[in-house]
């Protein structure tokens, strides 16, 4: 059984993900060597490797269970992750002004990362069951009802980035499932129209980040500092970069958050335009192969899951790199497989494993 499936295993996706992860380790080393006092870069690399091990174990589980069974349990999984998210709000640990982390033993994890995956499964379950009357307005309403609690919980935490990553995934899945294109367009238009009302719900630092995006010189010592320094870092990398460990912006401590959300700035500075394009190409291959998995699958559940996962990964890359080069506002999204942090890495691995799972067990006539 498994053997038959393995013929359809997409080694290209796994290979690209592995290469991206190794590049991530290399830059984790580079971005943390000049941290002094707190911890050595070896300890950062070590912890990232522990997260890798954890991610691979969980990934293997996700990989070996038929995705259809996962779809059957989707609502349960989604409900469970929402519950943990809600618990986070009460017992979670505050860091940088947001309650996103839960401490379990020596590990702390960020439940909002996991919600991304369970939401994809739940929405796929919903859309798959409505296959016959997908065109009805109730489909859109149902999708909105599904995303509602996750979106609300993640926004109040607050973790604007993760919430915003969920929206395009939902739109893509609904669209690919066959909902009337005009309806999807109307939904997007509606979303853009109501977004100004969300302005009041934002925390002061989030507003500041958005204003600073429009004009970084508004607060050159505070919130704008990161953007200015990040642009200098990436830009100064020029065509071929300054070389690994030789980026003055990162090695002289000018770049804050450079091992987590802003790690791409280090890549851009030290490896230049060429290195950045290689990295983008690697991501692109994964996304391209992911879309092929969606296209080749005649099972609506599998197709929609694959589209959702590709959307998650793709938009995370676009938003993260976009913000480090000043094209998009700073919203706190990690770069998959590269940013330091266990939850982000584990969820990236789960994403790819689920994608491989769907690809391997595709239904062909």
């Amino acid at each position: 059984m498994m053997h038959r499936h393995l013929r359809n295993f997409d080694g290209m996706i796994l290979g690209c993900a592995a290469v991206i992860f190794v590049i991530g380790l290399v830059f984790l080393q580079s971005s943390t060597t000049s941290f002094y006092g707190t911890a050595s870069s070896e300890s950062f690399v070590m912890r990232q490797l522990i997260s890798l091990a954890l991610g691979l174990i969980l990934g293997l589980v996700v990989f070996s269970i038929d995705y259809r069974k996962l779809v059957d349990a989707a609502y349960l999984l989604y409900g469970l992750s929402l519950f943990i998210l809600m618990v986070t709000f009460f017992i979670g640990e505050r860091r940088l002004g947001a309650t996103r982390w839960v401490q379990i033993g020596m590990f702390s994890f960020q439940p909002s990362e996991f919600v991304k995956i369970t939401f994809i499964l739940a929405l796929a379950a919903f859309l798959g069951r409505r296959k016959e009357y997908i065109q009805s307005t109730a489909t859109i309403a149902g999708a909105l009802l599904l995303i509602g609690p996750a979106f609300a919980l993640i926004v109040i935490q607050p973790d604007l980035g993760t919430a915003l990553i969920l929206v395009p995934a939902m739109l893509a899945m609904v669209y690919v499932a066959g909902v009337n294109g005009r309806m999807v367009a109307a939904l997007m238009a509606g979303g853009i129209c109501v977004s100004p009302f969300f302005w009041h719900l934002l925390k002061a630092y989030q507003k500041k980040r958005l204003l600073v995006f429009l004009n970084p010189d508004l607060d050159p010592l505070g919130a704008g500092y990161t953007i200015i320094q990040s642009k200098i870092a990436v830009g100064s990398g020029q065509l071929f970069g300054k070389g690994w460990l030789a980026g003055t912006q990162s090695q002289l401590n000018f770049l804050p958050e450079r091992h987590t959300d802003f790690i791409f700035s280090v890549v851009g500075e030290e490896w230049g335009f060429v290195g950045a394009c290689v990295l983008l190409a690697l991501y692109f291959v994964i996304l391209y192969r992911g879309i092929r998995i969606a296209e080749m699958n005649y099972d609506l559940y599998g197709k929609v899951i694959a589209v959702g996962l590709v959307s998650l990964l793709g938009f995370q890359v676009i938003v993260n790199i976009g913000m480090t080069i000043g094209l998009l506002p700073v919203v706190g999204v990690t770069l998959p497989f590269i940013s330091y942090g266990g939850s982000s890495l584990v969820v990236s691995i789960l994403n790819v494993c689920l994608l491989l799972n769907v690809g391997m067990r595709r239904s062909v006539f």
């Binding site: 050159p220 010592l221 990436v234 020029q238 000018f254 790199i321």
Partner: protein, 574 residues
């Protein structure tokens, strides 16, 4: 078109958008950004804001800031390290190995000045500045440093500063606190930290790759802290500290009507400069860990609780008169001994005082009279009047960590100790012994009530913050009659002014002093000495309290009180 394909085109467009952005930033604008990163490395240099000064009632400086000179080094420019280290260790007489170790730490930030030696003298700073041509890596940086010129003498009032701890830092970071901050840890420095603290400023400086400043991009000006003008008279304060030479305890001088404090000493004290200077970490740890077992950081005037001894008789007398259980004509005979059940209580005077009325008993501080009177009045009424005169409660003084003390009563003993009250305890209670515990500030506040016609005042230090008047005089009428207050005050005048009065040594020429002594038994074989009083008795303008901890008598305390009152007259407060 296939929907999946269309979706993928959106993603692909996003990637093209990124590649275009990167191309613009790194290739087209690349040289510009390269130049900015290479030539103009932006550093933010914080500028410390000076803390507000503390001035005495006449505007004389009690606490201010001096300029500290630090020796910094820019690692990148250091050149021959050994030559630099040997030059510095010879000029500043510092251990060469420690200097090398610190220099090694600067490697992490080769372009920014790193502090090597803190707080060198002005002459050393000038010398180093002259030799900068030979040692281009050297920088002398300056910062304001808290300075307490009168050291221990004013420490009880000023308190001290401490480095901000991690918990406070994470709580208050959004209010502009930084890891460099020092915050008030005691005294006025703590109580008024929000006002004294300034707002740190900063400079955003463009520096070249060798750390030389090219131009200042942005300056956030500092906002200095607000100064405090307090009620203390610096001369009197210093005199009071010196008067306690060789003794531990408390001196408080204040205005009995307004609550303004003129002098405030708790001994043994400490030198607050230790907390801000460098190289004193050992001494500070010793103080914080209380290595000397002397509790130098404890402000005995407000946090120390003691048995008041006979000073308390003024309250017992008021309780008796107010409840009509004694009057001025009632007399008891003192032959030095008082039998109660199987217990024997003694008067402090062997052989006794003979027949004593209330006023005589106050004058001589006769214990036998108060044993008898106490039994008539009862413990509950004594407790009630102790409470009215402010014992067992906070005075509300503007200093941190004030203590409550303890006013015992039969009801208290039932709930707290689950035991019945013994009449024998009432006997002890009447002379201010037993469970009763008071703080020195409560004692002088009680005495103030006799001086000001029966009001409890709130003692305070801060008169003005910046140029704004801050002090609000708070008075609370005590429910006692003026007639009885006058009667007891008459007794308090006799204590100082008549032959055989226990406080005779507080007497002044030409000014009538009223007061009460106390010599309180303690658990050790040494006694506490108390004197609290006020002057002039007819129209009081000043009140005084002297407390000698372990090893003093009321008589010794009244000697000091006399000296302090004379000094108060000299500085124009009496």
């Amino acid at each position: 078109m296939n929907r999946t394909e269309f979706f993928f085109k959106i993603i692909a467009a996003g990637f093209c958008f990124l590649v275009a952005g990167l191309f613009y930033l790194q290739v087209i604008r690349g040289p510009y950004y390269r130049a900015r990163s290479e030539d103009n490395r932006i550093v933010v240099i914080p500028i410390a804001a000076p803390r507000g000064e503390i001035l005495d009632r006449k505007g004389r400086i009690i606490v201010d800031n001096r300029i500290a000179f630090d020796v910094c080094v820019i690692y990148k420019d250091a050149g021959d390290f050994r030559r630099l280290v040997s030059f510095l260790s010879a000029t500043l007489k510092k251990d060469a190995r420690k200097l090398s170790a610190r220099l090694e730490k600067a490697r992490g930030q080769p372009y920014t000045p790193t502090v090597l030696v803190e707080d060198i003298s002005r002459d050393e700073a000038i010398l180093l500045e002259q030799r900068r041509i030979d040692y281009p890596a050297l920088r002398i940086s300056t910062r304001p440093l808290r300075s307490y010129p009168y050291k221990e003498e004013t420490a009880t009032v000023t308190g001290y500063l401490g480095k901000i701890n991690d918990r406070e830092l994470s709580r208050f970071k959004s209010y502009g606190f930084t890891a460099r901050d020092r915050v008030g840890r005691g005294g006025l420095e703590k109580q008024y930290d929000d006002y004294l603290r300034g707002v740190e400023g900063g400079m955003q400086v463009e520096t070249d790759s060798r750390g030389r400043q090219k131009r200042i991009l942005y300056v956030q000006p500092t906002e200095p802290g607000k100064s405090l003008r307090i009620t203390v008279d610096l001369d009197l304060q210093r005199f009071c500290y010196e008067a306690m030479e060789g003794k531990d305890g408390v001196v408080i001088v204040m205005n009995p009507a307004t609550g303004a404090i003129y002098a405030f000493v708790s001994k043994p004290g400490f030198d607050p400069n230790l907390f801000v200077k460098s190289g004193t970490q050992g001494a500070v740890k010793g103080l914080l860990r209380n290595d000397s077992r002397k509790y130098q950081l404890v402000d005995r005037a407000i946090s120390g609780v003691y048995p008041p001894g006979s000073v308390f008789k003024a309250v017992v007398a008021m309780a008796g008169l107010e409840t009509d259980r004694i009057d001025t004509s009632l007399a008891f005979t003192c032959n030095g001994v008082f039998h109660f059940g199987s217990a024997v209580f003694h008067c402090w005077k062997e052989g006794g005082h003979g027949v004593q009325t209330l006023l005589q008993a106050l004058q001589h501080s006769c214990d036998i009279y108060f044993y008898n009177a106490g039994l008539r009045i009862g413990a509950t009424a004594i407790a009630q009047y102790a409470d009215r005169f402010g014992f067992g409660r906070l005075t509300g003084i503007d200093l941190p960590s004030e203590g409550y003390g303890l006013v015992p009563s039969p009801q208290w003993k039932r709930t707290a100790k689950k035991e019945a009250w013994f009449e024998g305890e009432t006997v002890n209670y009447a002379i201010g012994q037993g469970y009763l515990l008071v703080t020195p500030i409560q004692v002088i506040r009680m005495m103030n009530a006799f001086a000001n016609g029966g009001y409890l005042v709130k003692p305070y230090f801060v008169e003005e913050i910046g140029d704004v008047t801050f002090a609000t005089h708070s008075l609370k009428k005590i429910d006692v009659s003026l007639k009885n207050l006058a009667t007891v005050t008459k007794g308090l005048v006799k204590v100082v002014n008549e032959e055989g009065g226990t406080g005779a040594r507080a007497r002044l020429d030409g000014i009538t002093v009223a007061g009460k002594t106390g010599t309180a038994q303690t658990s050790r074989d040494k006694t506490h000495g108390w004197f609290s009083g006020f002057a002039p008795a007819e129209n009081p303008t000043i009140s005084v309290l002297v407390f000698i901890e372990y090893g003093g008598t009321g008589g010794e305390a009244s000697v000091l009180a006399g000296k302090i009152l004379r000094k108060s007259a000299e500085v124009g407060l009496l």
